[in-house]
Amino acid sequence: MRTCDCAIVRALREPDRLDQFSMAEWDTLIRQGRRADLLARLHGLVQEKNLLASLPEAPRAHLQAARVVADKQATAVAWEVRKIRAAIAHTGAPLILLKGAAYCMAALAAGRGRVFSDVDILVPRQRINHVEAALMLHGWVATQHDAYDQRYYRTWMHEIPPLLHIRRLSVIDVHHAILPETARLRPDPALLLAAAQPIADEPGVYTLAPADMVLHSASHLFCGEFGHGLRDLSDIDLLLREFGTVAGFWDGLVARAQSLDLARPLYYALHWATRLFATPVPPIVLREIDACARPSTPVKTLMNALLQRTLAPDHASCRDALSVPARALLYARAHWLRMPPHLLAYHLAHKALFPPRAATN
């Protein structure tokens, strides 16, 4: 089945046509949506269009139940963000939220019903030690005790090892950049920091600039992590729809992508968002991004075949014989993009020779 024909993708693309879904299609939709963590988001879209009452009762209950979980997370994340702000206030570092926490706190459409497990923040590299120390004083502890893993994060990655709050068990990922130090693409964090925007009514809390939010999400998705591929692409769709109505957003997007070294991820993001979710991207923007970032035809053909399978929910109803190899190939590509070959070889050799212990101590 083509990804754009998956029940959950059709539902998100055209929520006003849900009344035409048969019960068997609803059955598939709920299962795919649960696997892709998109049920609460669908609930939000349906609610916004005032269509909840028109849905059949049994599947509607599943959407409502998913929304209960997402709403609880939204409350919890607001609490966490205020705790983090208080903890790092004296360091002088701004608190810049990334991804789910940012969408949620800035009350963006992409935050409604967004499910996430940890809070991602971006701080200036020169302040990261202060921020880490401040968080530790307030109850967050390091999760990676292995010396190699510590080095892996601190030398090569764009974040320090995740911090876990000892009582609330919430997790913070503290970033100083949005892609690893060793990655092929090197967006300059200084540009992101300089353009960060305050969140109304949350003094001291920021998000990235609108274009940068889209570009970060695109880089996250198309440079590596497909675990929540469809959810992340749906984020991009909702961000583009919301920001697209702001004057000047489309005019500056491609240029910003080029200055951040993220034109290629934006290329994939724009094309796949329009393909799956019919995102209204102006044709001129598509021409602009094609002109500067379109891959060669063989690469494009291969990537499309891989993304076609990997962006679909990881559910039996969406799998074909090539789904597993496609996921594996993109996983390998993600590592390839993260590190130069000699480092990657060293890293994989270390992980093979000293496999991580099953139980953490």
Binding site: A24, R31, R35, A58, A61, Q64, A65, V68, D71, K72
Partner: protein, 306 residues
Amino acid sequence: MNVAHYSLAGLRQEMARDGIYLQTGAFVARVRSPVSQVAEGIHQLYADASILPTHGFADFHVTLAPPATYRRWFKPQVIFRSDGYAPFKPLPIDQAFALFEWGLNWCISSHAHQYLIIHAAAVEKHGFAAILPAPPGSGKSTLAAGLVNRGWRLLSDELTLLSREGMIQPVARPVSLKNQSIEVISQFAPQACIGRIVKDTIKGTVAHMRAPAGSVARVYEQAQPGWVIFPKYQAGVSATLTPMGGAEAFMGLAQNAFNYSLLAQEGFRRLTALMGASASYRFHYSDLEEAASVFDGIAEQRHANM
């Protein structure tokens, strides 16, 4: 069509192939399994439940199958999966039907957050429900099994579902009996249908009792809460109801609710409404017959006051 309509062989075949869409109270579970113990258990203990025509909607898609390892043959095991996801470790194949029941409980308690889900049994008489929350071992299932064999309607045994409107949504699945209570119930209600007794499970010796046909037939009929009663079996005591403070009962319910904190404000609102509609008691008992007459007493009283 009822489960009883099928022959055991027919049911087994259907379950091994496409699976059956089993109506279990508020939920439809599509159950697929080549394991004959599961088919036998469903055939015996869900006899009055409906099997829906296929190709429709199921709330849960569950399979119970042997693992793809040597444990398929050597000391055979069974794995429960909900739409491909296995929340538990494999169990000996002997426990397959109990695993089905536990798995279905897991499905409900981890997904059905449209309800406030309380770890409690619930029974109904004259339109009012008695909610019996209690930690395992307090004798709530035994009491519920006793009451439903003396004219009370079974709403649920493990999971009491409280709707947004403050009503109890029936589930009416088999009642799980453990250890001595299996013998107690077979003596107390010789007509009750009790399934295979399985020893050495994580909960000790377990068996399941079929829900009364009348309770299964009325599974779409929600019930209004009337009482919250914390039961405690205590050898040798006479059956006594002791009024309980509202705050204490509230906390007892909150502690026994799986998703109270997940529902946040709404959870508080629902429990408050529940307390407003119910009288709360502690209940000590040793003899089931005596317990049933005390319960009948409060039900008649409430009925008379209507």
